[in-house]
């Protein structure tokens, strides 16, 4: 086995290229880095969550792909994956932790391949962090009624845990289309009771519905979202 190791000391980079006969069968033919916008460049706001990069890889043969993701020279995750012939393979940076977005300016993402050993000028993708505020979307914890409860709507108070810095809550009732709620209500308190006139015109007995809550700050940015719970009206 022939083995060469090259130490690249850029900013905290140590990469190893291992050339071995066993990897000869697998050959990468194309690597395309992109973000969710299908481009290799992306503009994001400061502290924007869940930013990911993707690598679309075409290859021939069978074998073990070894590599790692790095951002600004810092290794963030290893990839070991057996590739078999068929469709192209798409790899992604992890969501936990996601790509860091707290430092304004350009950031370079790379997927470095250790195996198979190929003299590849590894492609780069660039995301640019701009100043701005990205409100953290927290989880709104629903308390009552419990999921899949059968309720008497006139006797039921919909409740959830209050959050700091909330200007208003929006409680939405859904029948089949989450994009188009059947009925909603704005409230400043973390609770709501369905008014009788609404029950008469918008809801039917013995039917299943869903409900969820979103919270907004004073600038009407979404700062909290709950799960969707199912209920049945008596």
């Amino acid at each position: 086995m022939k083995r060469t190791s090259i130490i690249l000391i850029g900013f905290c980079v140590l990469g190893f290229w291992m050339q071995s006969a066993e990897a000869a069968n697998l050959q990468l033919t194309r690597i395309q880095l992109r973000f969710e916008n299908n481009r290799a460049t992306l503009t994001v706001k400061n502290r924007q969550p869940d930013v990911q990069a993707f690598a679309d890889i075409l290859f021939t043969g069978t074998g073990l792909l070894q590599g790692y993701w790095q951002v600004d020279g810092r290794l963030i995750a290893h990839v070991n994956k057996h590739l078999v012939p068929g469709k192209k393979v798409t790899l992604s940076t992890p969501l936990k932790p996601a790509l860091p977005t707290f430092s304004e300016g350009p950031h370079i993402v790379m997927f470095v391949v250790n195996r198979p050993a190929q003299p590849i000028p590894f492609p780069k993708a660039l995301y640019y962090v701009v100043p701005g505020e990205t409100p953290n979307v927290a989880t709104v914890n629903l308390t009552q009624p419990l999921s899949e409860s059968e309720i008497d709507p006139l006797q039921t108070t919909f409740q959830w845990e209050g959050q700091p810095k909330v200007a208003t809550y929006l409680i939405e009732f859904i029948d089949d289309n989450p994009q188009k709620p059947l009925f909603s209500a704005i409230t400043e308190k973390p609770e709501y009771v369905l008014p009788q006139p609404v029950l008469k015109y918008s809801f039917a007995k013995n039917q299943h519905y869903f409900w969820r809550v979103r919270s907004f700050d004073a600038s009407y940015n979404v700062i909290g979202e709950s799960e969707i719970r199912e209920l049945r009206l008596k």
Partner: protein
């Protein structure tokens, strides 16, 4: 002899001028013909034709029944004429209960929308319950528009300013900037009136620093991206144009997910639509390349497409034709670097039956592609087609597809298209209340034309997946797949291929209090049954707990990867430990962020043993919420630290860079 691609500047310029002309043609009449609405309250308010009993209790003050209101957040006011006789009151605006956020002053109630009210018709329903239990309902309809000229007119913009000054660095670093200034503009604007609608979004960027800037960035002003969309709709007719950074999706076998700069023009009538587009084949950033429309044809992709829906939109037919050339790879791509050109034509059909529970898809496409226009070989033709069927019945979801892609099949602008492939895929999912079971089977082969010079490799795979979420806050997942690659039609002197690959993986996620605990484990074996016997095995374990509090988020992570190579009998272990956290003190005045990774790699043959450590951190103090026109002017310490240690060579490195950063934002909306 092969022909060089002729420059078609004239055609492209004509298309460009056509786009602009059409945009202007639709803009001018819509502005000229836009009906000047009467000023607020100018429309005579008709007395609500309500029952006398309602009129004696509720008086709608603003807006009046049938009125046209100018403004984004029109105030709603009404009064109770006889508050003493009322036991309860409910006010609903467009299906949203606003009772709890109304302000009450005496017998008068008012509400100011929190967000801009969409233009158009609105309904306000006020229900009062009298002391004797009688329910009285007053309904009022009114309409609103944002300005007198436009139904909707919004522009949200934000300028960001960042100045970085390096205050410390390791002595031997010579490539880190001393000073850098960035200004960014994020803009999102929209105008709408009648059937006319136009929007413009962009991210523009100015950068300057004491050292040269690496591609794709440039010094000076640049457009990171932009998109100008215009649409006009009247009855069943619609037309629209898009100029800027487009996302093109024609059919899966031709153009799919192509993100390029250019222009697109579309016309539609009822269920029929035709469109044409021209985009630069290289991904553009900044002003370089202009609108993506101008320039020679061998650097562009031109296309046209049409679609039609029949039988209450149950059947969708699509057709597309594209042609063009590509000179070089885009930023972010490594692969074929030859200048290439080609054309493709495809047609697809989708049929939805039984309330969309049975869906049939099919597509056929042909290509003519020259992968290297500088060599002596001409373009080659090939074809691809697929059929798919999906069926949802009760808790069952079944999918099946067959696909054939010829060995010479390639689409210009869609270099990630797989070719030389033929296979079937079957997948079934059963979704129970708290459990989901998925089974899959596939069989495919390459060398579809049975070329005698290469073997034909058949891959047969089966998979099974199971998820369980029957315990609150707990999700469990198990996956298994096994594939077999076997060759046939081997040329003389070639060993047959026989490889088995098996993957096992499991994941568990549990949420308790503010903690989200995630654990995944995977084991993968590739069993090489050829004489070479190059077996490999990998194991991966990842633990990612996350704590989310109001003022603190902590995301540690640990990942262990191990690979074993039978041909060398070497095991390689990597341990990757990460820690990310961020939070704030003093009501968001002091913010901190940290991201760090420690990685240890060692091999059993002791030829490799090293670690890397990379840390980035930022401490920000917000000087004020507002300072003149500036929002949140801030000062930060932004630093990075890295170190490496090779235990075999006994070498160490340490690097650090620290910046002082001033930043602020200037939001302006109208």
């Amino acid at each position: 002899m092969k022909k060089n691609p002729a420059s078609k500047n004239f055609l492209l310029k004509t298309v460009f001028i056509f786009f602009i002309s059409v945009g202007v043609l639709f803009w001018i009449p819509s502005v000229l013909l836009a009906q000047d609405p009467a000023p607020e309250e100018a429309t005579p308010a008709e007395e609500p034709a309500a029952a006398p009993t309602v009129a004696t209790i509720i008086r709608l003050i603003h807006p009046a029944e049938g009125a046209l209101v100018i403004g984004k957040k029109p105030e709603i006011r009404f009064a109770l004429l006889d508050a003493g006789s009322v036991k309860g009151i409910t006010a609903i605006l467009d299906g949203t209960d606003i009772t709890n956020v109304m302000k009450q002053e005496g017998a008068e109630f008012s509400f100011k929308p929190i967000a801009a009210l969409a233009s158009g018709q609105h309904t306000l329903q006020i229900t009062v319950v009298s002391q004797d239990g009688q329910e009285l309902v007053q309904e009022a309809a009114f309409s609103s528009r944002h300005t007198e000229r436009f139904e909707e007119a919004t522009s949200d913009n934000e300028i960001g300013l960042v100045y970085k000054h390096r205050v410390a660095k390791s002595d031997y670093i010579h490539t880190e900037v001393k000073n850098r200034f960035d200004a960014t503009l994020s803009s999102n604007s929209k105008l709408k009136d009648g059937g006319f609608e136009t929007s413009f979004t962009t991210n523009a960027h100015y950068a300057d620093q004491n050292l040269p800037i690496a591609e794709p960035e440039r010094k000076g002003v640049n457009l990171s991206n932009f998109l100008w969309q215009t649409k006009y709709t009247k009855d069943k007719f619609s037309t629209g144009s898009d100029v800027g950074d487009l996302q093109l999706n024609e059919t899966p076998l031709t153009v799919a997910g192509l993100a390029r700069r250019g222009g697109q023009l579309a016309f539609g009538y009822d269920n029929y639509e035709v469109h044409g587009f021209v985009v630069r084949s290289k991904e553009l950033s900044g002003f370089n390349g202009g609108f993506g429309i101008e320039g020679p044809s061998n650097e562009h992709i031109l296309g046209t497409g049409a679609s039609a829906k029949f039988f209450q939109e149950k059947m969708l037919l699509k057709g597309t034709y594209i042609a063009g050339g590509e000179k070089e790879n885009s930023f972010g791509t490594w692969g074929d670097v030859n200048q290439r050109r080609g054309r493709a034509a495809g047609g697809s059909m989708q049929l939805k039956l039984f309330d969309d529970k049975l869906i049939f898809d099919s597509e056929y496409a042909e290509t003519n592609y020259d992968g290297d226009t500088s060599d002596i070989y001409d373009a080659e033709e090939d074809e691809a087609y697929n059929y798919g069927l999906s069926w949802i019945y009760n808790i069952l979801s079944l999918k099946g597809s067959y696909q054939y892609i010829g060995p010479k099949y390639a689409v210009i602008g869609n270099a990630s298209t797989q070719n030389d492939y033929e296979g079937v895929n079957l997948e079934g999912t059963a979704s129970f209340k708290t459990q989901t079971l998925t089974l899959g089977y596939s069989d495919c082969n390459d060398n579809v034309k049975e070329n005698e010079l290469v073997p034909q490799v058949t891959t047969t795979a089966a998979k099974a997946g199971y998820t369980f979420n029957g315990i609150e806050n707990l999700t469990l997942g198990l996956n298994y797949d096994r594939s077999k690659q076997e060759s046939a039609l081997e040329p003389a002197g070639t060993d047959p291929i026989k490889v088995y690959t098996t993957n096992y993986s499991g994941s568990i996620n549990y949420i308790v209090w503010k903690l989200n605990l995630g654990f995944t484990a995977g084991h993968s074996v590739q069993d090489d049954r050829m004489p070479t016997d190059q077996d490999t095995e990998t194991d991966t374990y990842t633990f990612t707990p996350a704590l989310t509090l109001d003022a603190l988020t902590v995301t540690p992570s640990y990942s262990y990867n191990s690979t074993w190579d039978k041909s060398t009998l070497v095991t390689t272990d990597t341990h990757t430990t990460g820690l990310n956290f961020n939070g704030h003190f003093f009501e968001n005045r002091l913010l901190y962020d940290f991201a760090g990774t420690h990685n240890r790699t060692e091999t059993s043959d002791r030829l490799t043993d090293n670690y890397t450590l990379g840390l980035t951190y930022k401490l920000t103090y917000v000087l004020a919420e507002k300072f003149g026109v500036f929002t949140k002017p801030s000062i930060s310490i932004d630093g990075r630290y890295g170190s490496t240690h090779d235990y075999i060579a006994n070498t160490r490195t340490h690097e650090k860079v620290v910046f002082l950063v001033f930043s602020s934002i200037l939001p302006f909306s109208f």
